[in-house]
Amino acid sequence: MAVTAGAPRRRGALPFLSFIPQGRGTTLGIYIIKRLLWMIPVLFFVIVITFFLMHQAPGGPWDREGRQLSPAVIQNLNIKYGLDKPEWQQFLTYISGVIRFDFGDSLRSPGQHVSDLLLESWPYTFTLGALTFILLVPIGIGLGVIAALRQNSLVDYTALGLATAAASTPNFVVGIFLIILLAVGLNRVTGGTFYLATGGMPQPFNPFQPELIMPVITLGALPTAYIARLTRSSTLDTLRQDFVRTAWAKGLRARLVVMRHVLKNSLIPVVTALGPTFAFLITGSFIVETLFSIPGIGRTFVNSIAGRDYPLILGTTILYAVLIAVINLIVDVLYVFIDPRVRLTD
């Protein structure tokens, strides 16, 4: 499914989803439905690959650090959870569960539904991701625009340098440096009385916790830098276009030229990049969550892999895949509204 430039829109299109005509007789509504349906085989493959990969991994859910469980106990546990059956059978059992939206129970946290565990951890990840996103959009775009408008000035080089440095440093390194600086450093300098907490996120949906400062910066540094660089290069390209010259020739004020003509064009690729960026924030947060002990989905996922907690691994993977697919779909649809030259095609 691609988004391409196509035939001109028929005049008189109403802004109701199912009535917007696209290329080749597809309407927006049909396109969305097709995309949603397409998600199903994709998800299926995702589950297949993950399932069989996980079962290749050495070790099992019953391995314990230090004192091992006795083989008899392990045997019983396997029978209880159906792990003694052949893999393909386990797979089918799992799939039949998924269809009924039953994702099984966690093996490492017995008695807890996978869906519950995910629901518990979701608010933390979402808060972190959303907060980071809300901050990074204006900062990233703002920096990029300023750098472009004042090309080759000190501001430009500083912004560009910062952005490149941030984009090239692994985020956990950034996080660790922040910890060293703000936690260890402050601690030492103030004799132990003042330091930024390095871990945890006491309340799920509250964006105003100081514990979030370092994780947000850590998580957001790279995407912000990326968006800034993208905005800058896109704006520079747009500034070279003929229609900007036309705008000046009409005698428009500078502010209008920039906002209405330059930015309206140069931000198009940036906006489309924001979709995958948001997806990255949500799904790529596990490093940050581990570093700062935030009990979000990412950390759950990492722990589940280490512990070979198969249902939890699968549940999380499915969640991630669905999220990414939905975000991509939203971005593709949004693109039609942003750029009038574009039509959706299959």
Binding site: V42, L43, F45, V46, T50, L53, M54, Q56, A57, P58, T164, A165, A167, S168, T169, P170, F172, V173, I176, F177, I179, I180, A183, V184, N187, A279, F280, T283, G284, F286, I287, T290, F301, V302, I305, A306, I313, T317, Y320, A321, I324, A325
Partner: protein
């Protein structure tokens, strides 16, 4: 007949043009100071890395020259030491020499980062070429497959692969190759498609000559630039992935001193002795930064639009 001759001339002219492009590109690259600095740093790192592994005694060349210690030798009487003549950067939590471990880590990061690009080139390149050349349902199938790959968050997929194969150097290597080929495949496919559309290919097809050789002959000079740039940018991504996985405990395991492992080790003692974390952190950051600068420089140097 005339068309065939015209075709051959067209290709030769393009190829000749490309060679001039390389010399031009090198000159432009040289003017980009950041890129040159990055290149220098990388070369330095490579030298240090090689010296840390060869000869194959622990510590390699640098140990023999008494510049560093042994990356694996523990000395519990001398943990968390500060810089000294024997240990230029001090020792870590188990008394091991930090500097030698950093050099050793360089060898791990660089070899994974750089060598995996070849794997990516093979996988991504062949899939991209197949999709572009054959077109039709093969193209469709392969592109759907890449869509599925795209549906996974890459890091997670690598994680899953690495966990499946067991944490080790080679499993990371293979996992990276299996996940990150997608970008290159799309690039190559696009290149093949655009070459296929050029008129001289049509001409060749009409005179009956198989365009495959023509395409390849023309593909190489044209796409070498973007491919190199893509692969160069892939190196810091690979280095980052390995470090991240090792940091999380799912990648390279101790006592192998990958930078990620060192950071993980040092994290516990961060309040007491932050330099155990700072040095490997800086090492990773600078290495990734250097590759990014080089990548930027290459991209600007090879950009045909800026040819003047």
């Amino acid at each position: 007949m005339a068309t065939a001759i015209g075709v051959a001339q067209q290709v030769d002219w393009d190829v000749a043009e490309q060679i001039g492009l390389w010399q031009d590109a090198w000159m432009r690259f040289r003017r980009n100071r950041l890129a040159v600095a990055g290149l220098v740093f990388i070369i330095l790192m490579i030298v240090l890395a090689i010296g840390a592994r060869l000869p194959t005694t622990p510590g390699g060349l640098w140990r023999i020259l008494h510049l560093t210690g042994d990356p694996f030798q523990q000395d519990v009487t001398n943990t968390f030491a500060g810089p000294s003549l024997q240990h230029l950067l001090g020792t870590d939590v188990l008394g091991r020499d930090l500097l030698s471990r950093i050099f050793y880590g360089a060898s791990i990061s660089l070899s994974i980062g750089i060598i995996v690009q070849f794997l990516i080139l093979v996988i991504g390149g062949s899939i991209g070429m197949a999709a572009g050349y054959f077109g039709g349902w093969i193209d469709n199938l392969l592109m759907r497959f890449t869509d599925i790959m795209y549906a996974f968050p890459d890091l997670l997929l690598v994680l899953v692969f690495v966990a499946a194969f067991g944490p080790s150097f080679w499993s990371i290597f293979i996992a990276l190759g299996l996940v990150y080929w997608v970008g290159l495949a799309r690039l190559v496919r696009g290149q093949v498609l655009s070459i296929k559309e050029k008129e001289f290919i049509e001409a060749a097809r009409m005179t009956g000559t198989a365009p495959l050789k023509l395409i390849i002959k023309h593909l190489l000079p044209n796409s070498l630039g973007p491919v190199i740039v893509t692969l160069t940018f892939g190196i810091p991504a690979a280095i980052f992935t390995e470090a991240a996985l090792s940091f999380l405990g799912i990648g390279i395991r101790p006592p192998e001193p990958s930078w990620g492992v060192m950071i993980e080790d040092g994290y516990a003692g961060i309040f007491a002795d932050p330099q155990l974390v700072i040095f490997p952190g800086i090492a990773v950051a600078l290495t990734m930064l250097s590759f990014t600068f080089v990548g930027d420089g290459l991209r600007d140097a090879l950009d045909p639009r800026m040819r003047r």
